[in-house]
Symmetry: D2
Subunit: 298 residues, 4 copies
């Protein structure tokens, strides 16, 4: 099929490369033109702008957005002014599902179709086979299904349902991911604090083979320890990019008791600070009622 790919970061670049290999025609565009030039060497048609990209496609156009969450809105608005009825936007980024629902409704008034598409599998998946969760109109989905089939690993794509369901699934996927990562991490913390002398790469390799907790995250754990046996070179600062927070906010709205996902997020926040104000208050209170010693600031 022929399609446009807007956004050639780690994910978009690899998805485009993958599509080219599989024989699709891909018109590409990025704010960094050298990305498009590089893909042109792999057979892509490089567009100089979004308008140029739109012009290089035939109706009904198919455009895959893989841009940072912060610019999805502006790019979508630009596209809304350029596209025509029956054109299709596949939004592959990590947008909030409620925004995707709103975008789909807005575009639908112009006759433009919108498929919210959660993408998992990391940069490796983008290149070698991803996991895709697609929401929107089923007929529209079917019309571009060959793209999803080619980009995903076997059984790795799903028409999830109405608009928003694709990004909702991706959000929940990430919430689960937060919990699973924290679970694994707590386990290794216990190994580290124990009096035994484990080789963590060996343990992660072992648990990747035949155990109940085997899976890709454990394989990645092995990979990480293979590069730095005690992770001595990095700090335990756990950044987050939004989906975990959205998951917990959604849990609050749905009155769902999800303590493990919530705590996984809160421990990330905790890791951003070397010291806490709540700790100071508790330490001060212990001193007040029991005369317990406090640790003074230097």
């Amino acid at each position: 099929m022929k399609l446009g790919m807007i956004g050639l970061g780690k994910m978009g670049f690899n998805l485009a490369l993958n599509l080219l290999r599989l024989g699709h025609e891909v018109v590409v565009s990025d704010i960094h033109p050298e990305k498009g030039a590089e893909l042109a060497r792999h057979g892509a048609l490089s567009a100089s702008s979004i308008e140029d990209l739109v012009n290089k496609l035939e109706r009904p156009r198919i455009i895959w957005l893989m841009v940072p969450a912060g610019v999805v809105e502006s790019v979508t608005e630009t596209l809304a002014g350029l596209l025509e009825a029956e054109d299709i936007i596949i939004e592959g980024g990590n947008s909030h599902y409620q925004q995707s629902i709103a975008r789909a409704e807005k575009l639908q008034k112009l006759g433009i179709h919108f498929l919210d598409t959660g993408t998992s599998g990391g940069t490796e998946g983008a290149e070698h086979g991803a996991c895709l969760m697609i929401g929107g109109n089923r007929e529209v989905f079917t019309s571009v299904e060959p793209l999803f089939r080619d980009l995903a690993v076997d059984q790795g794509y799903l028409y999830a349902g109405e608009s928003g369901s694709g990004h909702f699934l991706k959000m929940i996927h990430n919430g689960i991911e937060y919990g699973m990562m924290q679970s694994i991490a707590e386990g290794f913390e216990l190994l580290e604090k124990s009096s035994f002398d484990f080789n963590y790469e060996d343990v992660a390799r072992l648990w990747s083979n035949g155990s109940v907790i085997r899976g890709w995250l454990m394989e990645l754990t092995q990979s990480a320890f293979s590069k730095d046996p005690k992770l001595a070179g990095i700090r335990g600062v756990m950044q987050s990019s939004g989906e975990g927070k959205w998951t917990v906010q959604t849990a609050l709205d749905l009155q769902a008791s999800t303590p493990v996902i919530a705590l996984s997020l809160l421990m990330r926040y905790r890791s951003l600070e070397e010291d806490t104000f709540h700790g100071k208050v508790v330490a001060a209170l212990r001193n007040e009622f029991g005369g317990h010693a406090v640790v003074k600031e230097d």
Copy 2:
């Protein structure tokens, strides 16, 4: 190799069967003699008692224990009175690692070797390839390594270190498992409470293919939903068999902050009750200070 297998429950039976298929000589014993008889049809030598089993082996004897946690102590005591120096006990159950350390020390005084061996992979793993974590003397481990190599999947066994380290690793493995299961479960609870209409088997299959959270637990989730699409036939009572509790107790002793594993366990306890006393207290307090309505008992 030739060895004895004591305990022919789901795990022990399958391990013995697996060993027989691979050409080992296995003397078997269980309190239910029909289990031994069944394995005899697959080539095992069935012993009428532990003493008989010991007598049917040559020195240095190798005996694999796969009995319920509650009887490990008594069976080990019995064996201590029958075995001789250089004999080897492989304890494959879910014993507390501190008990394993104590047992190893006690047996060592008699010259009997003891390998604490955590076993993961479920009943399927016992039959088709398990994950084994072994603690104890390295030379003793090496002398029986062919057994571990044959029973485990490729790269699925590890000499973990000194006595206790095998069962310690298994305990932590199970702690991680608690957290990962609760993470997955919370994710599906959010799907269930959402206004979307997901097919959970499809979602679990999708996430088993190409996603970051793919792994055996997700595949089992798919399997469970394939049998009962909404799990309508079962109650959400989450039993536990001890290792999760041990993990949290160990975290307390090591002063390790492991909120996700701890909450996974506490939610299991919560699930054992239809109503809680703490809930009554909070409800009563809200009524006291704000006049908020309470839900009356029928």
Copy 3:
């Protein structure tokens, strides 16, 4: 002073009564006119409508809103159309602080002043002395300070700062309250599950006298147990009215790790369900990998 009181529920009625006793002139209004009639017997001037109430006050008018959170917006809008420059609205309900900031800004354009006023102390406090947290313009606060001084217990009111700070403080107060109530409740659950045979009213009275954890909530705990020694008559369903959720949402926005307040809220949500979907998933998974028995639905 002379003021209007709109909303004569449990809180507004008692505040008005208290003001009347202290010699203030109070014009009252409620959608249930009998409330106004009852207060008229205590000296209030009962208004037949909001418009009537506004007309019965002299400029600069002082109007205290004590209406349910759901109607604050509409009543405020009505007042915006009736009041004049320099009039003052004291909003004493549990509104979200960001809404209060927005309302203050909107009214300021009309020259109308707005003091967001968090009220604590329960219905008892409304009658005998409350705790008041006030945000908005300091001069406006000062102009009506006598009202706050009269309604509050000694040292029980505070000019908290700019618009929104009053309701922010009240929100955080309630978040702390959630955590403290859950703490007390968990303690009594442990007493209940222990093998000892405690008299909970005696324990709560004891802890109300001289202990580190003494305070009003412990006194209310005693009061609750004095009426029902084991709380046998009520179910442990823990409703919530919003401020706890807002606190956790705020914590997420501020990237603050507040596990105890978060869990207090999540346990309330958990209490609304007799069974959980996450519990079903975990139970099903245990069955899948280990053959562990599940509890069947009836």
Copy 4:
């Protein structure tokens, strides 16, 4: 009454002083003899050793132990060799209730009585009126009740039940205290992270007067902020002395879901570390699958 007081630290010294003021005869002993000498100036009879203290009392002797948890066992053993039938030991420290049960049983065989006595109220309570929770034989309790009545605030002592119940109540009291302190502390952390500019001493004073969350801990919060408005001089290191851990261990044994008390403890453990191993693992995993940047160690 006449009694011996062993252990003249912050708590024991003040209790003895308080008893002397109220007209009791107190024989005192401490490993630091100057403590006894100081109390002698207030009318105490200072003993040179435990044996001397025992000899200075008449049968049936009453001896109050107020020694550090680590030496209760040895002092009790010493007393067991010196005391006679019908003598009474009041153990006022923070011992684990199961140890108190064991001690009571052991001493009972010698005819010596043992009252496990939890003491709350801090050093201030020891001097001006404490909260006492007493377990053991009811007749023995009654025989020394005047001491408890004099040392406690009004209604501030309770015969809790059989042996161990006093220290059990104290343990749970401290578990609740952990949760309440963490609740308050999280609230102030949210104030600190907000964009408002609160005066924390003012807020704590406000909440100490008329609010739902008023109580001694809030008063102590005010006191702490009065000395250091932002607690800039201390670090948020939250030490713990055992009872919180015991409470959580007890919750695990009783299969009680007590997330708030558990998390209060785990956050204390977290505060002992500037960085965590679990944080490193999560950061490394994010880098592995998504190429997310990590924070390097210096």
